[in-house]
């Protein structure tokens, strides 16, 4: 499998629900949402590398305890592949602008902070999406006042990413067997991107059409309100977890600001 396929496959798995068996899976979706926003808030507000590293260690431990090591490793690898050109470009730019040791040390510290922040945010999102059922996400969005049509639309869009990524991998395979990637000049290679994106767009539109029909025949969106057969109970365990999240956020902010 090519690097592109592995990369696309890894990224496409990010928003897929994985398992309920872990301790995070048993928590109320709202608790996990608080955990996610706490992580994002610390990543955004905090500048101290030590605090960020401690937060990263916490999220990484939670991810490793509730999700398989392989999945977490593939997420981190994909992210690193994605940001590595940007890091390289920052170093090249810095060397050309002011080629001194001090600026390189400063740049390295900034790059390290940026990587840690990105990892915290990615793991926070990952933990939430992979351990929460899609219908629970839609229910939370509905409970905070977002019309269920848009909540479900959001969830379907997230689920769609993995389907589109699978189609993209198939199209890349197909067009490879048709000689699309035989080395030629830049212009013809640019033109050949149509061979990938036109079938991808058409396939996505066909799927959207099918989903729309499936939703319409089930009466989706006929009423502004809807009832739910299942709902999670916000228990004592959730209350403790929310308090711990808020306490962690408060401590991080206290040390950073």
């Amino acid at each position: 499998m090519s690097l592109t396929s592995i990369y696309l496959r890894n990224l496409s798995q990010i928003f897929l629900f994985y398992s309920e068996k872990s301790f995070l899976g048993k928590l109320h979706p709202l608790t996990k949402a608080v955990l996610m926003f706490a992580g994002i808030a610390i990543a955004f507000l905090c500048n101290k590398l030590v605090v960020l590293l401690l937060t990263l260690a916490t999220f990484l431990s939670m991810a490793l305890l509730s999700i398989s090591v392989k999945r977490v490793a593939s997420l981190i690898t994909s992210l690193m592949i994605f940001i590595s050109p940007m890091i390289l470009f920052s170093y090249i730019y810095s060397i050309f602008r002011s080629p001194s040791t001090t600026s390189l040390i400063g740049l390295s510290a900034s790059v390290a902070t940026a990587i840690v922040r990105l990892l915290i945010m990615s793991l926070a999102f990952y933990i939430f999406f992979i351990t929460t059922k899609p219908q629970s996400i839609a229910r939370i969005l509905n409970s905070i006042g977002i019309p269920y049509k848009y909540g479900h639309g959001f969830v379907i869009a997230l689920r769609f990413l993995s389907v589109i990524a699978s189609d993209l991998i198939e199209i890349l395979h197909i067009q490879k067997t048709r000689g699309l990637f035989i080395r030629r000049n830049f212009l013809s290679r640019l033109r050949s991107s149509f061979a990938v994106f036109v079938p991808l767009i058409i396939s996505a539109l066909n799927r959207v059409d099918e989903v729309t029909i499936a939703l319409e025949v089930k009466g989706f969106g006929l009423n502004s309100k809807r009832s739910y057969l299942y709902s999670e109970v916000f228990g004592f365990r959730d209350a403790i977890a929310v308090l711990l999240c808020l306490a962690g956020l408060a401590i991080a902010i206290r040390f950073c600001i």
Binding site: E170, H173, Q175, K176, T177, R178, G179, P199, I202, N206
Partner: protein, 289 residues
């Protein structure tokens, strides 16, 4: 251009077209191909049957050079698949995926069919000649000026087949070619495959779970794949001597064969669906009396 002719002449004489020895492949930790060995000769028609998840499509992808085997050896025209360039793979293999719409992007069917040949740098006059030739053979000559997006499912499949055959590759791989087609379209498509097999030197490998096409491909060499292993290899007659092989491997018995069996007739190549229907009609009349 000279290089292309040189390589073509060496491919023309390539036999066996493909060879795999103790081939293993896995997705993550799970092995989906376990020790597959096979040799495919020129003009040979190989039917790979197996239930969903048996490893058929993965096997075709390895033969097409899309996936690299984790263990074992696979070669095309005597050359190790892993050492072949994208251009070599495109020249040696025609790959037809079950979803024809993942191919289409040109504004005309003619351009869609000629796409591979253009990527391989074949000159315009040869391309035009080849397109007209293959379009005549596949009965799609009337479609050449149409938009690919206006085609029916059956037409789109024939266009994709033409596109895979335009440069006369030594090996043609068809992944679930009859998926979603009704009996009439299925029969028509398989008739085309038989026609290609008679007219061209191309070896054809068909991967499918559709057992109904067995009776439409009398010359095919049959392989049954289950859980990544070849569990049966032989001719259609061989499998019909032991029809329980279908149910043992989560496959449905071909309708014609089951019908013949229930009517107390042994199905063979000479048995036609019309013969079975006549027998059914005779039975119905007897019962009505």
């Amino acid at each position: 251009m000279l290089a292309l002719f040189k390589s073509r002449s060496s491919e023309d004489s390539c036999d066996p077209v493909a060879r795999v020895d103790d081939l293993w492949f896995r997705y993550g930790e799970e092995y989906v191909l376990k020790g597959i060995s096979l040799q495919i000769r020129k003009r040979e028609l190989v039917l790979v049957l197996g239930p969903n998840g048996s490893g058929k499509s993965t096997f075709l992808k390895v033969l097409a050079g899309i996936l690299k085997p984790v263990r074992g050896y696979a070669s095309l025209c005597g050359r190790d698949i892993t050492s072949l360039s994208d251009a070599d793979l495109a020249r040696l293999v025609g790959y037809v995926h079950q979803n024809p719409w993942l191919y289409m992007f040109n504004s005309k069917v003619f351009d869609e069919i000629s796409f591979v040949a253009r990527n391989l740098g074949i000159d315009n006059s040869t391309i035009t000649k080849n397109v007209l030739d293959i379009a005549t053979k596949l009965d799609i000559i009337d479609l050449l000026d149409r938009s690919p997006f206006s085609l029916s499912e059956g037409e789109a499949r024939r266009v994709v087949l033409a596109s895979a055959l335009i440069h006369k590759p030594p090996l043609l791989l068809l992944d679930e070619p009859t998926a979603g087609l009704d009996y009439g379209l299925k029969k028509r498509f398989i008739d085309i495959i038989n026609k290609i097999n008679n007219l061209l030197e191309t070896a054809i490998v068909i991967a499918t779970h559709d057992t109904d096409i067995i009776t439409m491909l009398p010359k095919a060499k049959l392989l049954i794949l289950n859980e990544g292993r070849i569990v049966f290899r032989g001719s259609i007659e061989d499998v019909l001597d032991n029809p329980s092989i279908f149910t043992k491997n989560n496959l449905v018995m071909p309708t014609e064969v089951e019908l013949a069996q229930r009517l107390g007739i042994r199905w063979d190549r000479a048995t036609d669906l019309d013969d079975l229907l006549l027998e059914l009609d005779r039975l119905r009349k007897t019962l009505c009396r």
